[in-house]
Symmetry: C2
Subunit: 157 residues, 2 copies
Amino acid sequence: MLKISKKADYALMALQHIAVVQFGDVTPGRVVNTKEIAEEYNIPLELLAKVLQTLAKHALIESHNGPKGGYLLARRTHQITIAQILESIEGPLGITDCSHEKDGELCMQRENCHIRTPLLKVQDSIAQLLNNMTLQDMMGGTPLITIQSPAAQGVER
Amino acid sequence: MLKISKKADYALMALQHIAVVQFGDVTPGRVVNTKEIAEEYNIPLELLAKVLQTLAKHALIESHNGPKGGYLLARRTHQITIAQILESIEGPLGITDCSHEKDGELCMQRENCHIRTPLLKVQDSIAQLLNNMTLQDMMGGTPLITIQSPAAQGVER
DNA sequence: TGATCGGAGATCATTATAGTCTCCGATCTT
DNA sequence: AAGATCGGAGACTATAATGATCTCCGATCA
């Protein structure tokens, strides 16, 4: 349950790889192309291409065409959150169908639903979790952040 | 992203309802049948029946056959966690495919995968969140719990 | 100019999900 | 004992999401 998609998985691997290449000691600033990542991690080339295109569209990476082309991080590693990465691929975080309900489009249960509020609190906690973790943290950094569980905030019925 | 299924949604609604009826002031101890819940929340009767059967199989509720039959909570509300409910319906919590990988069945990426460890930390945090929240919390209770984000625990590369 | 790169679109197979239908056995009421 | 009311269990269907593939295009650099 609560599984992230393969695409999101690939996105995380790819960004971590780009980050290490770009900010590592061996070849700092080097551009990384799709093929390199696909081969390194056994990811289907064309699927990974889609993923990277999506990430570029969301301005997490910059694309460079032509030979010697490829991708570079658009920001520094601590400015790219796990939440941003996952949401770029899978859309906005939403524990329930009604998480992003516009006014007027109520779900069939809404009239009597007593679980929406507490679930939104859970969602907020997960959002905090993912927003406070960055690419930097996937490379060995250890910043200090504390979040609270929804239960600790008091949940109205 | 990270959406829970309709079935899990229904399970939460149903358990919350049973809890309120069973431990409320109006009709304490009353047995609740499937039809009552389905009508109250506009849930397809037969689908809800499946959900409740599953919950019974996981010993979260007790079933009683025959006329005047229905379901009762098998434990007190603070002893039923949101994690238990969701896992009964959707299976074990697993952010990634490799979360519950047995020895020997490595995923195609595992050889070079650098994101597994940090993702498992994220998963642990979510698990804490869901394990520390109970049916009680969905009824107005406000216990105090604090958890830490993975970033705060230090994530190896 | 042509090989190498990303961009974009359609397409397909597989799986998960949501929902339905049917039959069965248990139990309570009369 | 009979019939209505309950849950138990299985097969079954439709739809959507996912994972993956294929094709063609434009940009760029040697």
